[in-house]
Symmetry: C2
Subunit: 330 residues, 2 copies
Amino acid sequence: MEYTAIKLVKRPELAITPDLFEVVRLQTPELQDGQILIKQTHMSLDPAMKGWMMPDRDSYIPPVELGDVMRSSGVGEIVESKNDRFPVGARVQGMTGWAEYIVSNGQGMNLLPEGIPTEAVLCVLALPGMTAYQGLMNIGKPKAGETLVVSGAAGSVGSMVGQIAKAEGLTVIGTAGSDDKCQWLTEELGFDAAINYKSDDLAKQLAAAAPNGVDLYFENTGGAVQHAVFNLMNAHGRIMVCGMISDYNTSNPSVGPNWMNIIKKRLTIQGFTMPDHYDKIPSMMQAMSGYLMEGKIKYRAHTLHGLESAIEGINLLFTGGNTGKLMVEL
Amino acid sequence: MEYTAIKLVKRPELAITPDLFEVVRLQTPELQDGQILIKQTHMSLDPAMKGWMMPDRDSYIPPVELGDVMRSSGVGEIVESKNDRFPVGARVQGMTGWAEYIVSNGQGMNLLPEGIPTEAVLCVLALPGMTAYQGLMNIGKPKAGETLVVSGAAGSVGSMVGQIAKAEGLTVIGTAGSDDKCQWLTEELGFDAAINYKSDDLAKQLAAAAPNGVDLYFENTGGAVQHAVFNLMNAHGRIMVCGMISDYNTSNPSVGPNWMNIIKKRLTIQGFTMPDHYDKIPSMMQAMSGYLMEGKIKYRAHTLHGLESAIEGINLLFTGGNTGKLMVEL
C-alpha cells in the first residue's frame, strides 16, 4: 500500500521551517512474523520534537537522523497483524513518527482500552500526562493544602499538572501567555488563579495569588516567571524542572536566579525527562485513567488536519498559538 | 568574676567593621542549680556569622539582637558546675558566643572525649565537619569512582568535603583562591586536582581535570566556578548547595546558570542548612571521629589570639586571607 511520510532532511537553525522536511510516498512492506501494520489516526506534536531535530544540543535522547522519518508519538489502528498480542482492529499508542502507516514489531506499542476517546488518550494518557504525573506526584510529592505554581499552564503538560494538583487538594496557580488561556484555566479547569506572564506586574500578581508562598513550582517555561516564582518559594520547597520553552527558540538563553535562595529555603530543584521513567508508565496510566473516570481531568485538543499540516503547525507550540494539546488528525 | 565579652550593637551594610561591636566587661553571676560556668578556650569564626548579623536577610536562623553578645560556637572548660552531667574540668563544645566566660544550663553543650586536640574538635568535629558530612554523604550520596568538585575547597567545610570524598574513593577536584592553597590541597590533603579560581582559563582547567565529567558538585562559593562546573555535570549529577561566599559581601549577587542543563542532565540541586539536621550530629560526629582516628582527615587551623582579635579577624573569611579553619584562642 502506498502512503505519505515526512522525513527530516535538514537541521533547524532557530526556527522550524518547511525546508527542513521532505514529503515522500512510500510503500508498505510485506509483514514478517511478529510484525503489525498500524494506520495512524492521531499524531501528537510536542515541544520536545525541536530537541530531536537538533544534533548539537547534547540532548537526552539521540536526534533524528537526517533522511529518517520525523519522530513523534501517536495513536493508530492495527490494520494487519502477524503478532498474536496485537489483533487487527485494536488501537495502539506509541512512537509512530510522521507517517500515515507504520510497521512495528509491537515493542513500545501499548494497546488502548476501549471507551476512551483518542483525543483523551493523546491529551491525558500520553507522554504529556505521564510527564505531568511523574514530575508532580513522583518528584514533587505534594501534600494537600500546599500551593503549586505551574508555568506554561495552558500547555499539554501544564494543564494536566494543575488538574492533578487540584484533584490532590492543592492551591493551584498557573501562568500562561494570554488572557483567554488564563480564563480557560480558572473557569474550565478549576485553577485557583491564572496570570498572564506578559503582564507588567507579573511578580506582584504572583505574590498576591500566593499569600502563603509557593511550596511547589512545576517549571515548563523559564524566563520571567521562573525568577518571580523563585523569590516566593517557601522553606523546603520543591521545583520540578520539566521544560524551558521560552529558551527553545533563542540563541541567548536567559540567566537563572542566584542560588542564595536555594540555601536559605533549603530548596530542591530536580530536572527530569521521561525516558528515565518509562518503567512507571503503566502505573501512571492507571492513575491518570482514574482521574479521567472521576471527571477530574478535562482536556482540550487543538487539532490540525492531514499529515502535512504538521510542517507549519508545529510552530504553534513555540509562538503560543495553540489552544490545547496540539495534534494532527490523519 | 569579671570577664570580657563583645556585643553586636549595629548591623553591617556590606563589610564587617569595628563599629558594629562594643567590647564590654561583665560579671559572672552566682550559678543556679543545673547551671555550669564555661571558660572558653577556642572560639570558632565562620562565614555564617555574617548572616546572623543581618536582620533583613530572611535567614534560616534568627539574627543576633542588637545589644546581645555576638553568637558563635566554641570549646571551653567547665570551671564551676551545679550540674551533675557536666563535671568541673570537662571540655564542652557548643554555642558559646564572643565571651571569655559563658553560663549555661548545659542544653546544646556536648561533652568532648579526651585525647582529641581542641583544634581538631573545631576543625573536624564542629559545625564545618558536620556540614561537610551532611552535604556530601547524606544529600549527595556519592559512589566510589565518581568525580566530585568542591568550591571553596581550602575552607573549613570544603577541606573536609574533599577529604571525606577521598576516603570514600572519589576523584576529587577543588577550587581555591590562591596557588598556595591549591598546593596544600593536592600535596597535603590528597586532592586529585586543585584549581585557582582566579585563573583566566578556569573552565578549561576544570574540564581538563574532569575528563569524565562531574557527578557531584559541593557548592560553597557561587560565581565563576559555579557556571564552569554546571556545564560539566554528568547525567543524574547532584549539586549540594551549602554556601555562596562570593555573594555574601556584595549587593549585586551574581546570576545563576540557565536551567536547561538541569533538564538535559536530570540534575538534582539541593540546598541545605544545618539546623534542619541537628538530630544527625551524634552519628555524624562518630563517623567523622572514625576518619580522624584512621588518619584520613587532616586539618589546618588559622589561629588568632585574644577575644578582641575576632573583630578584625572575621574579615579574613571574606577576603580569603585565612589559611585553614579560622578560630580565636582565648
